[in-house]
Symmetry: C2
Subunit: 173 residues, 2 copies
Amino acid sequence: MTTADDTRSRILAAARRLFAERGYAGTSLADIATAVGLTKTAVAYHFHPKDRLAAELLAPCADDMITLLGAEFADRDALLEALVAFVVRHRTVLRLIMEDVGGADDAPPGSTGEAIRTFRDELLARLVGPEPDAVAQVRGWAVLGALQWAVVHTTDLPEELVRAELLRAARAI
Amino acid sequence: MTTADDTRSRILAAARRLFAERGYAGTSLADIATAVGLTKTAVAYHFHPKDRLAAELLAPCADDMITLLGAEFADRDALLEALVAFVVRHRTVLRLIMEDVGGADDAPPGSTGEAIRTFRDELLARLVGPEPDAVAQVRGWAVLGALQWAVVHTTDLPEELVRAELLRAARAI
DNA sequence: GTAGGCCCTGTACGACCGTACAGGACGGCC
DNA sequence: GGCCGTCCTGTACGGTCGTACAGGGCCTAC
């Protein structure tokens, strides 16, 4: 039984790495399969359908997403601090949240993509307010983009360093 | 003859819009074709192969890319100013440069993807120096991400406003 | 009027994708 | 030994992608 769970976690690890490198739509089941030395049908056997891979990778941060949106913050600075902490903590799967999943326009209600899309929209609304002016819009997108790119491209750097530096950058914007 | 050039420019306009919305790999020739009321083979007739569409959209900023990399700047601030100006001016096709084209690992030498990849790498090297420390890396990626996201998501805002605001944000980081 | 070039369509091909399904290897349990 | 569930393979299907190619309107030039 250990072998079964082992291959399952090996598939998850390979998928996390490949999704971060090439994106969700950019990596096929065959890519993941060859990365762990299996067939693509074997991958499909454990994770069916493909969305389940993303869903399982995203499961650990689902709670954080909910609490981040549900919490009340004293000011925008507190929100920024929580946002940066969230982003850095889940940096290995952040690309799935910010770019890949939910990029399609066809979103079956109740799916993972739907939830992630509303999360992004809600997050932006929290950042810039309900009816933002032009400057606020630019700054909001700049903050999100800075966090996204910096975190995705520096996964080999120590987490605390990235967190501190990004908090500074986000505040500066 | 005007009709021929007209459909050609209409295809280009639709491609620019769709590429900005869904990305290069995310939009098919059929999507562009239906957007202009043609068949996908008609699109392929004018732009062959698909790369030519991206190449033609990117042609107007190729010169700016070269001059941006070739120019000498007094300090990093001058570089930032030129970078922000470049990014805002070509914001409708910036996603092609920063994300889509060159994302694949297979780059036939001399292709458009190859040139764009080296442009991105060179740009980052200019921003953070040849052997950057961890903090510089984080900041460099944060600047690029902020510019990219802000510009792509605010194409409906006046260009000068976005430029000024982003220059401020980039300097702050 | 008729030959030729330009635009465009229809059809078809091979490659790749995710998925479905039958069957085999392997181990635990009665 | 016989049985069964788990894990995995091989094969195949429908779909979409970019591309190739033959043919047909249509205008122009001779």
